[in-house]
């Protein structure tokens, strides 16, 4: 057992740090949940891609560096330590892309991935529906066979980034007569500006349009925008969901950087002892998450499949993120009420953690049944 990096890994880390030092904007762009901030973040994605840093773990032929999991983790540590902007294309890069790499066709990968890497196509997630959030088996939006493709109808909601994004991916019921509710779903990519799509931005708690409702009326999608076989959407989505809760949605880098920022804030405020324990716990939690992830990455590289333990991961980081940001706002005192600070922006974002990507109640049920072996329960 060791934590030693190879000389190549150290060199990769140094290269990333040098590039980020030279390129991270000195003044942070506005919130990516605003039109102006969205455009600025898109431009940053293009700059990252030009430097070869937007999708380091992808195969080189789609714009990546094929760098592997450990180097990806190191890159993320450097990225957030450098104070680089949040990733506007997170949904595309960490949810859709792994799905395409695992289940897509070469034509789809070649067509979809490079513009995603350059920020030219920003993707929104279109999974939830008004009566189906964490319970994706209850989806009702439909895909009906049409000449050369499918016609989508129905309503999606809580679609992150959809207010300003270009395209979306989601599940649609293609066989209403399937024996079980999670059968007969098809995984589809569609254009948010296609005829028949209406996007209604939804303001989150602070009023910024971080997500949207999508109304779909006979929206045509060609066959080449269906991922995997029709009717297999659930299985494909579940592999994406494991990615979302697991390693790739929240790398430890951002929490390590946040904990360091919190510690700096605490020192700047004179190191008040009443918050000292909470600041120490934030530092400890970030280290725990980093080492847990290293362990998971090593197990994955040793050929183990990461299954329901991704639910532990999601429970940990989502609760951790809120505690850290609550501590920061408390340290700020009266200033903690202001809405125009980075801390406030990140605090509001952290509040959504236990709700999205499958609520934490669902994650606890998964842990109880699949890791602890408890009997199926009354939900």
């Amino acid at each position: 057992m060791d934590l030693a990096l190879t000389r190549e890994e150290e060199a990769f880390r140094a290269e990333a740090r040098a590039w980020l030092d030279a390129h991270v904007p000195a003044v942070a762009p506005p919130s990516l949940e605003t039109a102006q901030g969205f455009a600025a973040h898109r431009a940053w994605e293009a700059e990252l891609a030009a430097g070869g840093w937007s999708v380091v773990d992808w195969p080189a032929r789609y714009g990546g560096r094929d760098c592997g999991l450990i180097r990806w983790l190191l890159f993320e540590e450097e990225y957030y330590a450098a104070g680089a902007p949040g990733r506007v294309n997170q949904n595309g890069i960490s949810l859709l892309a792994p799905t395409l790499l695992e289940h897509g066709t070469e034509e789809q990968r070649t067509r979809v991935l490079p513009p995603m890497a350059r920020g030219e196509t920003v993707w929104a997630q279109a999974w939830s529906e008004p009566e189906a959030g964490s319970d994706l088996a209850a989806l009702r939006s439909r895909a009906v066979r049409a000449d050369g493709g499918w016609r989508l109808s129905g309503q999606k909601t809580w679609s992150s980034r959809a207010a300003f994004a270009d395209r979306a991916f989601g599940l649609f019921r293609s066989d209403p007569d399937a024996a079980k509710p999670h059968q007969g779903l098809t995984y589809v990519m569609f254009d948010l500006r296609a005829p028949g799509v209406t996007v209604r931005p939804i303001g989150r708690l602070d009023g910024k349009p971080a997500f949207a409702e999508l109304f779909l009326d006979e929206v045509f999608v060609p066959d080449e925008d269906v991922i995997g076989a029709p009717g297999q959407g659930w299985r494909i989505a579940m592999s994406t969901a494991a990615n979302e809760r697991g390693l790739t949605l929240r790398s430890p880098g951002r929490f390590l950087a946040s904990a360091e920022r919190l510690h700096a804030l605490w020192r700047e405020r004179g190191g008040p002892p009443e918050e000292g324990a909470r600041v120490a716990d934030a530092l400890i939690g970030a280290r725990a998450y980093q080492l847990f992830t290293y362990g998971a990455a090593c197990r994955f590289l040793a050929g183990e499949r990461l299954g329901p333990e991704s639910s532990l991961n999601k429970l940990f980081w989502s609760e951790y993120d809120i505690a850290l940001h609550e501590t920061a706002l408390d340290l700020l005192g009266e200033e903690g009420e202001r809405a125009d600070t980075d801390w406030a922006e990140r605090y509001v974002f952290s509040l959504a953690g236990p709700i999205y990507a499958g609520t934490n109640e669902i994650q606890r049920d998964i842990v109880a049944e699949r890791l602890l072996g408890l009997p199926k329960g009354r939900r």
Partner: protein, 316 residues
Amino acid sequence: MRFLLDAEQRAFAASLDALLTAADTPKAVRAWGRGEHGPGRALWLRLADAGVFALAVPEAYDGLGLRPVDLAVAFVELGRHAVPGPVVETVTAAALIREPGPAKRLLPALAAGGSVATVAYQGAYALDGDLADVRLSLAPDGLRLAPGHDAVRASLDPARRLTRLRPGGELLGAGPPAPEALLLARLTTAAQALGVGLALLDRTVAYVRQRTQFGVPVGSFQAVRHRLADARTALEFARPLVLGAAVTMAPADVAAAKVSACEAAYATARTALQLHGAIGYTEEYDLSLWLTRARALRTAWGTPQECRAQVLAARA
């Protein structure tokens, strides 16, 4: 980077688990609490045969050299089985005794399990000072072999017996103690706490699967399931801190491991007690052996406050 236990380390853990399962450890724990040390000493010898105490003794004195990761692996198992006695203190003593004379005289017996040691700062409680063969006092001028101990006081954990060591005695080494020896005490306490937490979780999961109320297993109620899921989460995130600290032996990492493992174990103890109901609140039921241990380990070798302060101080 290979942040994974290797096959040998996993086999070592499995062999200790098998040994302690076969040995009726709960019976030895209860006897120890009554001051009958025979079964515990027998267990101690078997642990020594498996190599546990040699992991902190230099090779020159019949040991295996200081191997913190293997010690952490072993102490998780000792915690899982609630092994009684000054196990932490014995490996700490092995790492503290550096002068060739005392080392040659004392270490081989510690490695072999025939000799039991306790260690404490002068004036603080030493665990099981009444039965220890070697009583080390961390005195202002150095490491001393204490001449004796005062009255035995009960711990909240009936298997732990608290004693203060008498001042004075033979000076075994002048100056401050080797820092890694004291880090080892904190690390093995953390590992032991993690094992205690894992045992509490396992036992509680087994209990709520078979205990029924309102015609269904208690474990099917969401309020119960969710508490156990939270306990599992806390323990799973303490584990890499304990192993990572064993790899780096950095003071802040060891302190982080101690806080995290002890808090997770203690939270699990509260959950275990609640979900067992009144049976868990009795001393006759074996769960009590881990419930009280979880509380005692929180303050042993570094309170949560001291450990958190260490984490903050490392960045000052």
